[in-house]
């Protein structure tokens, strides 16, 4: 059993990095992820890890150096937020397309303009099509646990896909919470030795990375990438099962809360799930059958599994901490996509909340649940997409 500590999400992830001891980290500072790599830099300079730290001049170069390092044949990690992820965008596709298992905590933050440093999911949602695995974390414990599991998942020889571990900027990255650490030796054993696949540094067997592929085969390469993603859910579950054996903490593709006998439910990711669970408890005491589904793995999105979990419901509210302007919220689009495969068709509404760090307060959850109660009764949806928590 490891130490029980009071730490921030960033500190917990830095601890996970320390325990995993990546061969190379390349990073560039950006709020609110800065603190994570800053703490890790102390581990490097105090000789606590063997990592070569490459302190680059931009996030674009951070991901480029990670790509070079990962192709070279070793374990690689970085971290970023918001504009940093946006600047990396081009390289995210290349990391995934080259099948390099780079691990990146993404401390979710709003995107400019206007400039805002606080938490929302705009950055992560903008990168949803890049071919990275995305795991979202509710709190510091999950951010720590997901980071450790992400290395095992991404480096699995059947997939070799990069992974982002997301946590809400400031709300989780900078709040001090109770976290159970795992013993160094157990983390090391759990993650295992890095196995290089076609390393560039194998000087006796030269490889060329990054070819030009035109109309004749590009389509096939992309289908292969799609097929690899279909293997991810089972691996995520396998790794979660091993993780549970080690820690007793249970993880899956998503978490459900009082959902089995629920008639109405909220689907929401990350820290807002905690607040929502509290309000659900209050409504349950009033005899209202409400539950929650919290996606953990947003990419690949477990459509069928989620559809199965939601199929008995009358009404669902999907809460998005990001918007696709002129479209529905990104999580809503996925959930309605999942609903397509269901025999029953529940009413689904979309609430956009908490942008740029706007607090998600209990009364917002109550407002959503009250609306769901009405929809379940009347079967009528007034407005499909709406912003909540807005100062009018």
């Amino acid at each position: 059993m490891g130490d029980i500590v009071a730490v921030t999400g960033n500190e917990a992830c830095a601890q996970a990095f320390k325990q995993i001891n990546p061969d190379v980290c390349a990073a560039y500072p950006i709020t609110p992820a800065t603190d994570l790599m800053q703490r890790f830099s102390s581990f490097v300079n105090d000789g606590k890890v063997d990592t070569e730290l490459v302190l680059v001049e931009s996030e674009h170069s951070a991901m480029s150096a990670c790509i070079g390092a990962a192709a070279a044949g070793g374990r690689v990690a970085t971290a970023t937020s918001s504009q940093g992820l946006a600047l990396m965008w081009e390289m995210l596709y290349i990391a995934a397309g080259t099948r390099l298992p780079i691990i990146m905590p993404l401390v979710n933050r709003a995107l400019s303009a206007p400039l805002n440093i606080h938490g929302d999911h705009s950055d992560g949602m903008g990168a949803r099509d890049t071919g990275w695995i995305q795991l979202y974390s509710e709190n510091a414990q999950e951010a720590y646990d997901n980071t450790i599991q992400a290395f095992r998942i991404a480096e699995h020889l059947d997939i070799r896909v990069p992974a982002m571990v997301c946590m809400d900027g400031f709300i989780v990255s900078h709040s001090i919470e109770r976290v159970e650490y795992i013993d160094d030796a157990d983390v090391k054993k759990f993650v295992g030795e890095f196995q290089a696949v076609n390393p560039l540094l194998d000087m006796d067997k030269p490889k060329s990375y990054g070819p030009l592929i035109l109309t004749d085969m590009y389509h096939e390469y992309k289908r292969a990438q799609h097929e690899v993603m279909t293997k991810v859910p089972n691996i995520v579950r396998e790794v979660a099962a091993d993780f549970e054996k080690m820690t007793g903490r249970k993880y899956d593709l998503f978490e459900t809360y009082r959902l089995d006998d629920a008639e109405i439910a909220v689907v929401v990711m990350s820290s807002a799930a905690g607040t929502t669970k509290d309000i659900i408890d209050q409504y349950r005491e009033k005899g209202i059958k409400v539950g929650l589904l919290k996606p953990r793995m947003f990419r690949p999105f477990p459509f069928l599994e989620i559809a199965e979990a939601l199929q008995h419901l009358k009404a669902i509210a999907v809460l998005d901490r990001a918007d696709s302007f002129g479209g529905y919220g990104p999580l809503f689009s996925e959930i309605t996509g999942a609903v397509m495969s269901m025999n029953s068709k529940p009413a689904v509404i979309n609430k956009i909340f908490g942008l740029g760090g706007r607090d998600y307060l209990p009364d917002q959850a109550e407002q959503v649940l009250d609306e769901l109660v009405t929809i379940a009764k009347t079967g009528k949806v007034e407005t499909i997409k709406e912003y909540i928590g807005v100062r009018e």
Partner: protein
């Protein structure tokens, strides 16, 4: 490992580390430059490549012309990418996970990928002090995308984005002096070379590989498509670039400048411009001033270089 003797007969027998059969245009300077660089040494080499002519023509789908480990990831990041490879090498060697075989790390980029879009990534990698050599093959425009102006395009040149029009006669700005900018990073070795002076180029490569830390080599690389010149003129034109002092051959080692090949007789710049269709409009009577301006700029740059080289000589004498 000792420095390989640069005897033509021996070199011709050696293994080529970039194979024939690649799809660069006939008469292109870039593969000649790469061949000379790789031939100059027996050290094991890992190379990165910016997106561009060299990259798209040497590694297409299941075929590669590279007999050394090679990586391309994007356009603006050949330096950052190889810096990651080099960092991993250091890490694995330090941890005893990989045998130290004195591997050398090289990045290749065209002028677009070096002077323009890759400038920040290159500057960062040089400042961080990676043990790597960056080699720019400078053909003076975005040739891969169809001859667009870059900050390396010489004054007056006709390109597809600065065409010689009725009002604006080609590029109105002088080129960026990238070699001096790299020297200003205070890195241990910076040099300019030309494939026409192959011995000079290879000696510079050999010298650079013996120096720990970041190195930068800028090599002129004629492009007959963009320069509107004959396909068999690459070596003749790069020679004229040196002889007119448009492309002086020099090195800056630990801040000390040395001209490595000084033309016996400095030829007029028009000798270099005339065979190239991209400068054709400069020879019409109304543009005579452009020729003067181009010549004056080359003279000024050359005189400045001689001054810097003289200062280097004086330092050595002391």
């Amino acid at each position: 490992m000792t420095t390989k003797p640069l005897r033509l007969r021996e070199l011709a027998k050696g293994d080529e580390r970039i194979s024939h059969g690649h799809r660069m245009c006939s008469g292109c300077g870039a593969p000649i430059v790469v061949k000379q660089v790789l031939m100059a040494t027996d050290y094991p080499i890992v190379a990165s490549n910016a997106t561009g002519c060299l990259e798209v023509s040497t590694c297409i789908q299941e075929y590669t012309a590279w007999k050394i480990p090679w990586i391309h990831s994007a356009f603006e990041n050949a330096a950052a990418t190889i810096s990651g490879v080099e960092a991993m090498y250091r890490s694995l060697v330090k941890q005893g996970k990989l045998e130290d075989r004195n591997v050398k790390f090289v990045a290749f980029g065209g002028d677009g990928g070096t002077y323009d879009i890759g400038f920040q990534s290159l500057s960062g990698a040089m400042e961080r002090g990676h043990d790597m050599m960056y080699i720019c093959y400078d053909n003076g425009a975005y040739m891969n995308t169809g001859i667009q102006r870059s900050s390396a395009t010489p004054f007056g040149a006709n390109t597809t984005t600065c065409p010689a029009g009725d009002v604006i006669p080609g590029k109105l700005q002088q080129r960026k002096d990238m070699t001096k900018i790299m020297a200003a990073h205070g890195i241990p070795y910076v040099a300019q070379a030309s494939p026409s002076s192959w011995m000079d180029l290879m000696k510079k490569v050999q010298k650079a590989f013996e120096i720990k830390g970041p190195k930068f080599l800028n090599v002129i690389s004629p492009c007959n498509r963009g320069w509107r010149s004959r396909t068999d003129d690459a070596i003749a034109l790069s020679k004229l670039a040196v002889e007119t002092c448009y492309w002086p051959l020099y090195e800056i080692e630990n801040g000390v400048t040395r001209v490595t090949i000084k033309p016996k007789e400095k030829k007029p710049l028009v000798d270099f411009l005339k065979p190239q269709g991209r400068f054709k409009h400069m020879f019409s009577p109304e543009n005579a001033g452009m020729l003067t301006q181009a010549q004056e700029y080359v003279d000024a740059q050359w005189n400045q270089l001689l001054k810097e080289a003289a200062a280097g000589e004086a330092d050595k004498a002391e």
